[in-house]
């Protein structure tokens, strides 16, 4: 380079989304819906790829953008045949998600992505995978579930420990039978029981503490949920001898540009949109207990 370094052009406008349409909506519970999206341009729609754990920015013009993990798995909409849609499970939690809610089927929006680091499907090949999810955290793992189940030859054991506040806060329950049939062991728990609930009552950490069989030498833990829940779950796993290097967590902050330019999603020295959202635990451990980071 010359002293007046003219850096090379690399990528297009990071703020430019692609038009997309809401093909259908699955109302998961009162304030959580899964939007099944399709890019308006069929070429983009068929060329689009993502890796489990990555996220997209969903854009409602005039309102703003929100970062949502892509939760498409297997056949896309598992209940129907046909080409996969790009699924995003969204909790109503602000202006953009409220605007998405108002759009309805056929609604037009923008999508850009995918962004971020995915779940470590490659580096964990050969391991027993233990998924631990809390609440809507399962959305970020859904695509991983389908990947893991499609490659049972590489993952000798796949288990899911899943906790929600109440039974009607458990996501994707209609898919559990299929997941079990494909070889996944699922254990669910709720904080508060309700009439008709016959499963565990208590936090997901308790399931983890009691989990049998337990082989910390061969297990990798992938964890997604509220930060507090992840802290306790990881602590329980470490207490049972799981090495830190076999623990991954998916972090959440306010992602805006999604390409490490806007500064909003910083967590200690990390920009979660770029070096995360999925982190090996030992990389961010020292920041997890700091208030207000």
């Amino acid at each position: 380079m010359t002293p007046s370094a003219n850096p090379v052009a690399v990528a297009a406008n990071p703020w430019l989304a692609r038009p997309a349409t809401i093909e259908s909506i699955t109302r998961e519970f009162t304030d959580v819906s899964t939007y099944h999206l399709r890019f308006a341009d069929p070429e983009i729609d068929s060329a689009y790829r993502f890796r489990a754990g990555q996220f997209n920015m969903l854009y409602v013009p005039g309102v703003g953008e929100v970062a949502i993990g892509v939760s498409t798995g297997g056949p896309g909409r598992p209940t129907e045949d046909g080409p996969p849609t790009w699924d995003h499970t969204v909790r109503l939690a602000g202006q953009v998600t409220a605007a998405l809610d108002r759009l309805g089927i056929g609604g037009s929006l923008g999508v850009r992505g995918p962004y971020g680091e995915p779940w470590p499907l490659d580096s964990c090949a050969g391991d027993e995978i233990l998924l631990v999810a809390g609440g809507t955290g399962l959305a970020s793992l859904r695509a991983a579930v389908y990947e893991l189940l499609a490659h049972r030859d590489r993952f000798p054991r796949v288990r899911l420990l899943y906790g929600a506040r109440t039974a009607d806060g458990l996501l994707y329950t209609s898919e559990y039978d299929a997941w079990t049939a494909a070889g996944m062991e699922i254990d669910t728990t709720v904080d508060r029981g309700s009439p008709g609930w016959q499963g565990h009552v208590g936090v997901v950490t308790q399931l983890l503490t009691r989990l049998r069989p337990w082989d910390p030498e061969r297990t990798s833990l992938w964890c997604c949920g509220p930060e507090v829940m992840m802290r306790f779950a990881v602590r329980a796993a470490l207490a049972r001898g799981l090495p830190k290097e076999r623990v991954w967590v998916s972090m959440e902050r306010n992602m805006q540009c999604a390409v490490g330019l806007c500064g909003h999603c910083q967590f200690g020295p990390e920009m979660i949109c770029k070096s995360g959202p999925v982190y090996r635990f030992d990389r961010i451990e020292r920041y997890l207990n700091v208030e207000g980071l």
Binding site: P3, L16, A17, G62, G64, S108, E252, E270, M271, L293
Partner: protein, 387 residues
Amino acid sequence: MAERETKPDPKGKSLPASDDGPGAAGWIAKSDFQSFLDRLVALGYRTIGPTLIQGAIGYDEIRQVDDLPKGWTEHQSAGSYRLVRRDDDAWFGFNLGPHSWKRYLFPPQQTVAKAIKRDDGWQLDDVEDAEPPFAFLGVRACELAAILVQDRVFLNEHHSDPIYRRRRENALLIAVNCTQAAETCFCTSMGTGPRCVVAFDLALTETELGFTVEIGSPRGASVLAGLPIREAAPAECAEAASARQQAEDQISKRLDTTDIRELLLGNLDHPQWDDVAERCLSCTNCTMVCPTCFCHSVEEVSDLDGGQVDRVRQWDSCFNARFSYMNGGLVRGDVRSRYRQWLTHKLAGWIDQFDTSGCVGCGRCITWCPVGIDLTAEVAAIREVPK
């Protein structure tokens, strides 16, 4: 002249100096300088340089040599900036005002995309940046370093910002070496100055009657073609060298950058954060004047019937409460966590993210802080009693 490429060194080693000894530099008389400004216009540049704006020396369009702040200087200290008459007529006899070149490469407000409502849904469009090429006149060494830092932010291997890229590629950087230093300057600690050694197209040093001229790029050389520039005489080179030395000698502020990343990230619960939170007003001034701060937000600006939306990028600040909004709450709800975010990002996180310190030692955040908070003092306090 040897061409170099380097970057501000977070460890604070000083950079090699280039040489404008006899034969290596040109010389242009002040009486001929207008022809240089005219030349820039003829080449299609919009020249931006220092000029008096509202009681300070800021950057704006420069057409005449008389637009320059001739005979003015500033007195800067923590929380204070005053314009003062010089006892000579120096044109660049000051250091830095509140503006930095990021106003032009990364403007405070910029439409970055558009959405237009069509019958079959939204059409999402790019925007063209029509700004003519800039010639920046009077870029200081720390500011060259700041531009290189922002290059790493906006033009990296993953993503590049098209507006920044276009403006940056087109910009002609005409550096002017500092010949004095403010009480707030600490470029020597950050390895960024006071001498301009990298990233310029041309570098000038002011003497009483003219400027020595160093050429940093082929573009810089071509701009000079045909202008009344001759080889600098040994006495002119010596005068320039001693003027530059004066700047170096006047720098008194220091920031010890030894292991600074670990120092800060290892002290996230240090009582000094509480102490500074008592004083900091969370006013965002420091981030607005900082030449490297890049955090921004994008606002949706709709026309009346909502049929067209401009996506307007605006400077944002980690000192704004809303900056850390997430899921209906604030991650950094108090001033302590916001100041800590700013300082640890600037001096530590930047190293992880961009392999450089985010501070070039310009001292603006110290001068323009209404309560005179000095980041070098905050770091020193943490270093004094680390956890």
